[in-house]
């Protein structure tokens, strides 16, 4: 584990090169954002395997579909707002309905695009992708997790969504860490409250766990690396121990990780719960760190929420 901060998106091009070097028939389809998504790095090494369709995201998804139908593992780029929302029908009716080997791997998800503002801050993508049959959803917490996600996606037949962000975040996982489809990972063990987080919220959750420890509260932190299929066993085991839960995601509280955990617990073991996330509002311009605080997505908000659910448990 290094102290260097890196964006999850930075893993994209580099990992595709690795996969191609390992002999996998990977191709990347991008829509004029090869520099930002880092697929350009892949194209520099494998020029015939990068397809830049221009500013035409609908075409991007279905060209990827066609490439997958001729034996390739096709990754699609763009920013998350265009790479999921604008092309929802293409993903639904072609990629998922036909269960094609297309990996929807856009970058710049969540509020991490900062100053670009609400139009570009995609906070519904987990919900959109999670609801689709055949789709699997991975939300990597750091550079190494993104690398692992891009790799496990290649090894998993069918559609996989990999959510990557723009902001540089501290590394949580050690170099070369392998992560599995369908797994959540307990990063910190605790007994008083379960914090289930994903993506950039993992770092905030770990800081919150430190803050809670100072207040004598033992928090268990789980990285929901795979939001779908959700690792129900790991989450239920933790909640059975702690009796309350806070979820945290850089995404709407509607339909994302919080929604998934709420659905699970409501059907099995309802416990006091709070969902950290965008509370039915669009984002706004600002620096990433400012937005995390302004929308109460940061460690301080998680700490407060943890105390609140613990008090409800004991009431």
């Amino acid at each position: 584990m290094s102290n260097e901060k890196k964006a999850t998106r930075a893993a994209y091009g580099a990992t595709l090169i690795e996969l191609a070097q390992a002999g996998l028939p990977v191709v990347a389809v991008d829509a004029d954002l090869t520099g930002s998504t880092t697929t350009k790095k892949f194209g520099d090494v494998y020029p015939d395997r990068l397809f830049n369709v221009g500013i035409a995201e609908q075409n991007m998804i279905d060209v990827a579909a066609g490439l997958s139908l001729t034996g390739n593992i096709a990754y699609t780029g763009s920013f998350a707002v265009f790479g999921t929302g604008r092309v929802y029908d293409q993903i639904r009716n072609t990629v998922c309905y036909s269960n094609l080997n297309v990996k929807i791997a856009p970058t710049h998800a969540g509020v991490s695009v900062g100053p670009d503002g609400g139009s570009h801050q995609m906070i519904e993508d987990i919900a959109l992708m999670r609801v689709l049959p055949n789709m699997k959803v991975l939300v990597p917490a750091d550079y190494e997790a993104a690398r692992a996600a891009l790799k496990v996606a290649a090894e998993t037949p069918g559609p996989v969504y990999i959510r990557m962000g723009r902001a540089s975040v501290p590394c949580v996982y050690e170099e070369g860490k392998e992560l599995e489809m369908g797994r959540a990972y307990v990063l910190r063990e605790g007994t008083d409250v379960t914090i289930v987080a994903c993506g950039v919220e993992i770092n905030e959750a770990l800081i919150a766990a430190d803050q809670l420890a100072e207040a004598g509260i033992s928090a268990e932190v789980i990285d929901a690396f795979c939001v779908k299929p959700l690792d129900e066993q790991t989450i239920l085991a933790s909640v059975a121990k702690t009796g309350c839960v806070v979820t945290a995601e850089e995404h709407s509280v509607i339909g994302g990780l919080g929604g998934a955990v709420a659905e699970l617990l409501a059907e099995t073991t309802p416990v006091p719960m709070y969902r950290i996330g965008m509370r039915d509002v669009f984002g706004t311009s600002g620096e990433f760190e400012e937005l995390m605080a302004a929308f109460k997505l940061d460690a301080a908000a998680i700490t407060e929420a943890a105390k609140s659910v613990i008090s409800r448990k004991n009431a």
Partner: protein, 278 residues
Amino acid sequence: MDLRELEAKALDLRVDIITMLEQAKSGHPGGSLSAADIMTALYFGGIMNHDPNNPTKEDRDRFVLSKGHAAPALYAALAEAGYFPKEELVTLRKLGSKLQGHPDCKKLAGVEVSTGSLGQGLSIAAGMACGLKLKGAEQTVYTLLGDGECQEGQVWEAAMFSAHRNLDNLVAIVDHNKLQIDGNIEDVCSPEDLGDKFRAFGWQVFVCDGNDMEAVMDTLTSARGIHCGKPKAVIAETTKGKGVSFMEGQAGWHGKAPNAEQSAQAVAELTGKEVEHV
């Protein structure tokens, strides 16, 4: 098959289309009948390399039915070719059937990709054409679009991309039957001259009478043979509901199934036999 046999086969397809739609009590006769000659040429005229006994054979040409609502025309062709028993045609649109209202590649062998949401087939076909070129394969990808479907912006995204990538192993056939759900394409939102549009995007364009078997065969044969570095568009001038007098040129028959009486009348017209009144 010679021309006469192909024309007879196209009639068989049309009879199958009418019969299956009547049984289903819903579906799209107009745009299925207009495309019957094109489907016949592709599957029986030796245009496409395909094998009903080995639908996923490596060296097959590919076909994408972008106008997925014309599924009955595709199903009729696949059944006539032997991909599945003809008796199954009457299961169209019924619970448990392989023959979904729009083509489902997970249910029916011979369907390369599920379609039905308009505007996507050309992009998929372009991706396939890229994939085939990437592995140095010689096969051609065919896709059939509707003229109304060309109102979808994605079609032109794909047109631009295909020309830019020099996909001369791609043939897009537009079933130009001039009608869409809400009426005449010229009245709803005219695409103007479709040939000019494709040409402007850098395609090699062919125009033919899409309901004349000889013209269809000649045009598709030419299109296949040319390696000009350009993708090829065939604007097939057709009549919606072709072959059934009361359906021809009628927008109302876009998505409405014939009842038993209408079906009998249609089959009689197609086969040249008197309607048997019971």
